[in-house]
Symmetry: C2
Subunit: 207 residues, 2 copies
Amino acid sequence: MDQPSPIAFYFDPISPYGYLASTQIETLAARHGRQVDWRPVLLSVTVLQVMGLKPVPATPLKADYSRQDKHRMARLLGVPICELRHPDVSPIRALRAFLWLKRHDSAQAARFARAICARLWAKGEDISTAEAVLEEAALLGVDTAALGQGMESPGIKAALKEEVDHAVAQGVFGVPFFIVDGQPLWGVDRLWMLEHWLEHGSWDPAP
Amino acid sequence: MDQPSPIAFYFDPISPYGYLASTQIETLAARHGRQVDWRPVLLSVTVLQVMGLKPVPATPLKADYSRQDKHRMARLLGVPICELRHPDVSPIRALRAFLWLKRHDSAQAARFARAICARLWAKGEDISTAEAVLEEAALLGVDTAALGQGMESPGIKAALKEEVDHAVAQGVFGVPFFIVDGQPLWGVDRLWMLEHWLEHGSWDPAP
């Protein structure tokens, strides 16, 4: 039998909901014999440039909702979360590092992705600087000299741009965003739908 | 023992997700011994004026997602849904009629709310005109002469404005929106969270 297709999991470390999903997706996929294909996206491109909207923290009403909501979602999922302590955080370097790692070892890259999301949202530490990115990579046993050089290369910079363009072409607009068997799903609050699809392969109600 | 507080259920017939939730909320509430307090809101105020965003159908990427997504959500919930055939639809008259009915018979008003949402999203018929509103009311046995006059009264027009202001003050920004025991929840994809709260009264994972 053919290997079932992986779950494309689009993340941007800047999103608390992306972090929350990053703590769940591997276990959920494994329960259904699926792999996870971790894919970077930039909300600064999809939300601001493509959709022409404001970031959630600058959107009246939704900002307050989301600030509270992430805590109860974290509690439901049994993971820690903290407030964003670095409002000017940029995920660019971390995502370039992720892409460089993915070229060499995709499992290592997935671990790095989870670590970077957790650095911002569980530890409350900045992820913007090269030092921060390399510190997390070092904890995973990565060759940080090679990574430090690789993540600043023109090829990797171009690759991130291509990845984001590709995500937009797939209709990815928010984070977390899942695509499995051609089905797009947005939001950590839809993990139940992802699970439903993986279990039943249709949108008919559970028998 | 005190009666448990009702679930405030904010709806705007213009939202397909609001329609979908309108087909579920009474059964869900009844399972947990709760009443539903149906409350009108206007996305044209919350989304456009207060949040300064675009309507979903005018938002790149999200428009396509939502157009497809409502069909699979309807299938999961076991209810019919169709495309919006009246892009210039206005919910104002229907919501004024709802408020007038609510002053006289809140159960009748709830039935009317469900009927108006279904008229637009299951039958595919317009709900903007006085004729459409009165036709749905007549099917429920409402005194349409009294309703026709009542829904155009200055008092009811002011009441709708007050209701929307109140919703915004409560932090309501999208539809469907639920508030129960002080907990705000947005989205038909969060019915599972509403059910979790009603069952456990906390955000701890289910034991």
